[in-house]
């Protein structure tokens, strides 16, 4: 069986303003496939309480977009591929062109904007994305029709983000898998790998979530890990080795 891809999300500037580089470095050394850096936003609509709280704390720590790009430029991953996750208003107000240019300079090739629909992306921003060599990552859920899944997958790089069930992030402690949906998804001949996200908290739920996909995305559970007492680096190492064992 093929090894499942592991994608770890964390909120930049949490738990401390300058935690970003240590987190990146530890995840990179632990050979995590993708690292998703979240730009903290005051009103994260698609997120549950854990990521809301981390965003709130990060903003209180004084993080802003310029600081984050500064941090990202200072550490180059040797294994992991970096992805940025930002709400549309953050990017829009910072300036889409300026944001994409910063991505390019930091070696980031993909961007998740959960509240930017494909159609608006195509009309307003696709040209800029192409210019800076950045690709969007789109989300689908069990309520997305097959044709639209194919459309979104065709526009998504390096993977398609498959939300396990209709929910905000980390809202439910129980991962529910819509088996029929995932079997159908698996049967589609999509051009990019599918990664399952939302409500994966441990090895067991990771295995269930990725049974029909190419990998999984862990967010809230990892935020709880970096927010916990003790040594940040060893907490992360223990957390990742649980998933990799």
């Amino acid at each position: 069986m093929k090894r499942k891809l592991l994608n770890i999300y964390f909120t930049a500037g949490y738990p401390k303003l300058d935690s970003t580089i240590e987190i990146l470095k530890t995840l990179d050394e632990a050979e995590v496939d993708f690292i998703e850096v979240g730009i903290p936003y005051s009103d994260p609509l698609a997120d549950g309480p854990t990521i809301q709280e981390s965003s709130h704390r990060a903003l209180k720590n004084g993080i802003n977009i310029e600081t984050i790009f500064g941090q990202l430029r200072r550490y180059k991953c040797s294994f992991s591929e970096l992805i940025i996750m930002a709400y549309y208003n953050s990017v829009l107000t910072f300036g889409m062109g300026r944001f994409l240019k910063e991505c390019k300079e930091a070696g980031i090739k993909s961007l998740i904007i959960p509240d930017l629909p494909l159609e608006e992306y195509q009309v307003r921003h696709q040209a800029d994305f192409l210019r800076y060599g950045v690709s969007p990552v789109f989300l689908v859920s069990p309520s997305t029709e097959t044709e639209r899944i194919e459309l979104l997958a065709n526009n998504s790089q390096p993977f398609l983000y498959v939300v396990s069930s209709s929910s905000t992030t980390g809202t439910s402690s129980k991962l529910e898998i819509d088996r029929e949906f995932f079997e159908n998804l698996n049967a589609l001949d999509l051009p990019v790998p599918c990664l399952t996200g939302f409500n994966i908290s441990d090895k067991e739920s990771f295995e269930r979530a990725t049974k029909f996909t190419d990998g999984g995305i862990i967010g809230s559970a990892f935020i709880r890990c970096i927010g916990a007492q003790g040594n940040l680096k060893s907490n992360i190492q223990t957390f990742i080795s649980n998933f990799k064992s």
């Binding site: 698609a46 629909p117 789109f138 689908v140 209709s166």
Partner: protein, 382 residues
């Protein structure tokens, strides 16, 4: 004026993909039902027999004398439940019923929309959950009790500024987690089709003004939180001779750092899935607004108003907490009408203007003041 969910540059539906099926379903249902005669008949008979419409257009003689103009009050405060909000909730609950929805989610600021939603849900026997900022739960206590008596579950929003913005965030999150529910939004905000739909249901206000006045007024003045009562009062007068004036909440002053005057302080951005003006910092973080009035304590504004603002088709001003309190007292003493704090902002605008004696001025009195008695008691030393 609206094309595919946009008023000029403003509007749209910046929703997570997860909400797309819900929003598309709603767009289709609204498009189909709003043009059906049977639906309109059902809606208008509820407005007449249940809400008590048409509401009077009252010629306020004492105010007229005081300001030297012909001043009329559109008495939305006389609607069942005490504010214009019920016009919209009845329209949307009929839509929800036709869509076969078995649960309703709503947000509320002053609690008027929450009460109007709980009322519509009681009438149609649909359970509902209302999200309300913790701060607003404290300052609008009578409305919390009314919602509970009507059978609604009231959930406190404890994030951010603990006011309307945060209640709306929680309601949208609840909708993501419960896609089978109907989200009944309370103003001309949120993703398309909400701004268009809420304006449509509220347009009955200006439709009645037109018939009642029998001539075109010189001014229409309405307060603006998200902008639904203003949208309703302006609707049939947009592109007419009438000067439309929207009144935002200046809080402690537009430049005090404690204000909710979105058009004075804001810049374009996406809040609650709609592209419009909003109060934000240079990194796009939403700023916490302030107003003494819970219904105006919102850092955004509907896309229709952003468009009217930019094209100069309406003027927007801002009234401070103190000016609103003074105007509320003045209206009460001159006409024997205690207005909602929101509506008191519209009343206060009269003091800022100079009129010709023949000028016809309509002020949309969006709601009554019962819910605000504790604030009035405190600040007016009653």
């Amino acid at each position: 004026m609206i094309s595919k969910g946009y008023y000029g540059n403003y509007g749209g539906a910046f929703i997570p993909e997860l909400l797309r099926p819900n929003v598309v379903e709603l767009q289709k249902a609204f498009e189909t039902l709003s043009t059906q005669e049977a639906f309109k008949t059902e809606f208008y008979s509820l407005l007449r027999d249940y809400v008590g419409r048409p509401t009077p257009l009252y010629k306020a003689n004492n105010l007229s004398e005081r300001f030297g103009a012909q001043i009329y009050l559109k008495r939305e405060d006389l609607c069942h439940t005490g504010a214009h909000k019920i016009n919209n909730t009845l329209g949307q609950i009929l839509l929800a019923k036709h869509m076969g929805k078995r649960h309703v989610i709503a947000e509320t600021g002053a609690g008027q929309h929450g009460v109007a939603t709980a009322t519509a849900c009681a009438l149609m026997d649909i359970p509902c959950t209302v999200y309300m900022g913790e701060k607003d739960i404290a300052r609008q206590a009578p409305n919390v009790a009314r919602m509970k008596m009507l059978g609604a579950e009231v959930v406190a929003a404890t994030s951010g500024s603990k006011t309307l913005k945060d209640a709306t965030n929680e309601a949208i999150r609840a909708w993501i987690n419960r896609p089978d529910a109907y989200y009944l939004i309370g103003s001309v905000v949120g993703p398309h089709p909400y701004p268009e739909m809420v304006a449509y249901f509220q347009s009955v206000i200006s439709d009645e003004i037109k018939k009642q006045l029998n001539q075109v007024p010189d001014y229409i003045i309405a307060c603006v939180g998200g902008g639904s009562n203003a949208a309703g009062a302006f609707y049939h007068f947009i592109d007419s001779e009438t000067q439309l004036i929207g009144v935002e909440a200046a809080g402690e002053g537009v430049d005090s750092g404690k204000s909710a005057a979105t058009l004075a302080l804001g810049t374009p951005g996406v809040l609650h899935a709609s592209y419009s003006y909003m109060m934000q910092n240079e990194d796009g973080q939403v700023l916490e607004p302030h107003s003494i009035s819970a219904g105006l304590d919102y850092p955004g504004i509907g896309p229709l108003h952003a468009h009217l603002f930019e094209t100069g088709k309406a003027q927007f001003t801002a009234i401070t907490d103190q000016e609103a309190l003074d105007a509320a007292l003045q209206l009460t003493r001159l006409e024997g009408i205690i207005p909602a704090l929101e509506s008191a902002h519209a009343m206060a605008q009269l003091d800022k203007m100079t009129f010709a004696a023949t000028d016809i001025v309509v002020v949309n009195l969006s709601g009554r003041g019962d819910k605000d008695m504790s604030t009035y008691s405190k600040f007016l030393d009653l």
